[in-house]
Symmetry: C2
Subunit: 601 residues, 2 copies
């Protein structure tokens, strides 16, 4: 059976042919690895995802977690899947050998995460939140905290959460109210309420380690007064043994459109004034710690959206190949046999669009994941700095472009199925509901737009955006020399358009910040479409240069590369022209939304 999660041939193409990930084994940190160990890890991820994660995805949706006032009930298949995941060592995939980890490159670990996510977004939420919390502990916790909290997380005995959002504050972290009071013994007593905390309560692990954003009593107002705290569900003694239940109360579960298998919780800390908390790292550094991990968390969201695009696409492709219906325009004899619907040009349009969005999204996200590796392990300072700049500018795009367009891909997957796609008998409607979360969490679409235009474009005097534009220009030039000159010219034209647009916008930033940022969202979308065009052209260049192993029509490499070329053609002919509609608004410094009055709605 061919996997309907992510096309493995495509994943290999992106990792090795596009990104040259096997070259990372030349670096000291990954010297014990080979392409063979990477492949074996991916094989294991596919096997566990197919055997343990995918089979209960629908059940996890239909029988979402419940709270009886005391305990949270989760279907047993979740625990079984997580046992397999833990048994295979995935919780510590990227961590040091010293900590019991696999010391894998981040990009390889992310590829594996993508496979699990494509199989079951609900179940993966538990380990993925644990991974995010674990990465923060690895970076900023004391040795003692690592021993008591991080090691059990890497071993799969403790799970973790990220507790940022509060009901009254939403995206506005400046308005957080959770407060920590010194207890006199170096620990704190925490009080506050958090909402939308994924995996915030369950009985899947021995303990849950919440990383909570809050304020030390008397801290400065706004984001400068935010600290990060470790708050376990059960207190952990110095010897690692579990103590009494901490004062963390589940106020209720949130019932969502999708992602239903993952508990989403409202948590109250300190209802009985006895919520024990430890400071993580230094006081008032909470937000900078979060930002340290933000790029990776956001790459993870983008990849999650992209792989949902992939699995929806593969389901639609399978349906289109096997569903006979209708006849081509030139053969309307009703006595003739109906054709599989993939024979209809409009169905091929919907499949090509999905391929362009989903495979483009995966390539973009894994490119960014490789930048995470390069930021940490590239041989020279200059390479590491360039990787950091590229990652910083790309992060809002990597988070938001797949969240927007791979949701659209899932809508097209439903459409290919016709009426069946709207029923709960086929997985595409669930995948679409699951994916609708991605433009919201980990910074909404609008927040990403403000981050891109308001922070990342001006950062380092424009060096980040210049680095990105330089990469794009180089690809456009390479295309001219490789028989893809039309697309190279189109990429150059779009790049010029975005350069001009960026200049126009930044020229008003100083005198009118409100006007500068008013249309940040179309800027994000135009940049996103440009960047994915660049990624597609890079893929087409690889495909054009690769010697096909066998002839066309065999379902082998020649067809695979022809598909890459065709999807790139689709992207350049159908998608790139959208950019001008966004940049037109931007270059005009359009005030329509800014000037709209409340009373006129």
């Amino acid at each position: 059976m061919t996997s309907k999660l992510i096309n493995r041939r495509d994943l290999d193409f992106v990792l090795y042919e596009l990104l040259g990930v096997d070259g990372l084994t030349a670096r000291e940190r990954y010297a014990d690895h080979t392409r063979g160990t990477f492949d074996a890890t991916l094989d294991t991820a596919y096997a566990i995802a197919e055997d343990h994660f995918a089979p209960h995805a629908q059940k996890n949706d239909e029988q979402e977690p419940t709270f009886d006032g005391t305990r949270v009930h989760v279907i047993p298949e979740v625990r079984e899947a997580l046992d397999a995941y833990i048994e295979a060592g995935f919780p510590a995939a990227i961590h040091d050998f010293d900590l019991g980890g696999m010391q894998l490159p981040y990009v390889v670990a992310q590829a594996c995460s993508g496979v699990f996510t494509a199989a079951n977004v609900g179940t993966v939420a538990y380990p993925f939140l644990t991974n995010a919390a674990g990465n923060l502990l690895a970076a900023f916790a004391s040795e003692e905290q690592k021993r008591r909290y991080l090691i059990p997380m890497l071993e799969g005995r403790f799970f973790g959460t990220m507790a940022l959002t509060e009901p009254q504050a939403g995206s506005s972290l400046a308005d957080l109210r959770t407060t920590a009071t010194p207890a006199g013994d170096g620990t704190y007593r925490l009080a506050g309420s958090k909402i939308f905390i994924s995996a915030g309560d369950h009985e899947l692990s021995d303990n849950i380690v919440h990383l909570v954003l809050g304020r030390l009593k008397g801290a400065p107002a706004g984001v400068k007064g935010i600290s990060l705290f470790i708050v376990p569900k059960f207190r952990v003694a110095a010897d690692g043994s579990l103590g009494p239940r901490n004062d963390v109360a589940l106020a209720g579960l949130i019932h969502k459109m999708g992602y239903r298998g993952a508990t989403s919780t409202m948590l109250n800390f300190g209802e009985r004034d006895d919520c024990h908390a430890e400071l993580l790292g230094e006081p008032h550094q909470g937000l900078s710690y979060m930002f340290h991990m933000m790029n990776e968390a956001r790459v993870g969201v983008g990849l999650g959206a992209a792989v949902l695009g992939c699995t929806g696409y593969l389901h639609a492709l399978d349906y289109a190949r096997n569903r006979p219906q209708g006849r081509p325009p030139h053969a309307k004899d009703p006595a003739s046999k109906p054709v599989p619907i993939i024979a209809h040009a409009d169905v091929r349009r919907m499949l090509l669009a999905q391929k362009a969005y989903a495979e483009g999204g995966v390539a973009l996200c894994l490119y960014a994941a490789r930048l995470v590796d390069d930021e940490k392990t590239a041989p020279t300072d200059a390479e590491r700095m360039r990787a950091k700049l590229l990652l910083d500018i790309l992060t809002p795009i990597v988070k938001s472009w797949p969240s927007q367009w791979c949701l659209e891909a899932n809508s097209l997957a439903i459409q290919v199925h016709g009426g069946y796609g709207y029923t709960r008998e086929y997985p595409v409607e669930r995948i679409y509901r699951d994916n609708r979360l991605n433009p919201i969490h980990e910074g909404t679409h609008g927040i990403q737009a403000m981050d891109l235009l308001g922070r990342k474009v001006p950062m380092a005097r424009g060096a980040a955006v210049e680095a990105l534009f330089g990469e794009i220009a180089a690809t456009a030039a390479a295309a001219r020399d490789a028989g893809l000159g039309d697309h190279g010219a189109a990429l150059d034209a779009a790049l010029d358009d975005l350069r001009g647009t960026t200049s126009t916008l930044t020229s008003v930033a100083g005198q009118d910040a409100t006007l500068f940022l008013a249309n940040a969202t179309p800027y994000l979308e135009a940049m996103g479409h440009l960047v994915v065009g660049w990624i597609w052209l890079r893929m087409a260049l690889v495909a054009a240069a690769a010697p096909p192993a066998e002839g066309p029509g065999m379902g082998g490499d020649a067809d695979f590369y022809a598909g890459k070329r065709a999807a790139c053609d689709y992207y350049f002919r159908w998608e790139m022209p959208r950019i001008a509609a966004w940049t037109g608004v931007l270059k005009a410094l359009d005030r329509t939304c800014l000037d709209m009055q409340d009373a006129w709605f």
Copy 2:
């Protein structure tokens, strides 16, 4: 409390100021009506929708109908709501006084239907399918059939369905297999299976009258051999009394993403070879009868999508006005008070887009509904013929544009709510799930595209598309004389673009039907965006000419008209530029999708 269904001021604006519906009372058929009777009917619709339909919309979604193997169970609130609907006379709203009807213009009845749909799409499915079946009976049934089937439907005692789709055939009606064999007494015995039959079984009415597409035994293959049959759930004797249960079996309920309150069924006719059926009208005319009603059914779907856009928009607007969060870019002092999120330009963008999509969609659909009236009751042959041409060319656009863009509006409504919008505590996630059906049923998006380009554009030697282009050109000219010259010029430019695109496409229709139709979908989308631009400019012209009753900022007419002008500005600056991306593909006669090979995916 302000209604969150459809802004009543906007509905009045469209009906009276834009479409001059009160002028219909000059026609003989509507001579007993006045604007007062129209208003009173709308008042009643709002009252019943608010009091009886909206309150159980969420419950209807959470507790969808179930089938215990014998009976279908529906929550009791549905019956109560339908009692109020029937009591007020809505089942016979458009029918003759002679039949006990209200003899209302179709456009007024559709406005009322929109109000009910905005309140609860699940519950309205029962009467709306009945209306569709009733309209066919009114047009084609014998007097005897009308007496036995239609009259009880108009009285609300019988409900109806439209049973077209079969599991193996989907959109391809040529492949229908349901077969009718003469019983020798003028009736038939029907055998076949139907799927996706909304309101196909329930105990909400004394009887269910299925109108079933099938073939007479020995009929020609394809669509030329399709007839239409009346198949009651309980047989009806000559005196109207109910006889034994007919051989119509519920094979199962279909579980859907949304629209959950409406039963969607698989029905088996003739499992025991005893399914009694009557021919409706003439043999082999089934498809032409369906086409007779198709325009109205498709206008109904478009309007349903548009009013879901409206109610989502009004919920998002209310949330945005009442949710304090964040500060404007120029006021970042964390000690300052957070502002309502409507103060943020990006939130206003999302609200303006929703307003543009939803109000534009409603105006488009009610314009088409008025064409239905004009086709039947305009004073002169020429006017009736022109109305028919405009309705024919517009129908695929009216069905599909709101289905696409008002779904997008609902996605933006979720986004305005942030994380809360993704939860089932707020109605916008349900509305979004409900609306996702509309691009699928009553002819998918792709089917509408084929209808527009393949049938409607060439029809009557292009007279329909020329009539539409003529209307658009007239509005562009009027804008130049009314201070809206920029938008008039932009509309003219887009019209020229579509004229050229249409010529390019039709010039290849004769020699290569496959190439002609390959990119029908972007043609549909480009035409849709042009047409809604035209509608918005017409609305802005009305708003510009209207004398405001009081000053700005009072929430009165001046603000309302300013809002119309601003939404038109938004549409022309942000939406019209999308057209060029679609027409570029079309004018190039792009073969990317057509040439894509199965093996390359």
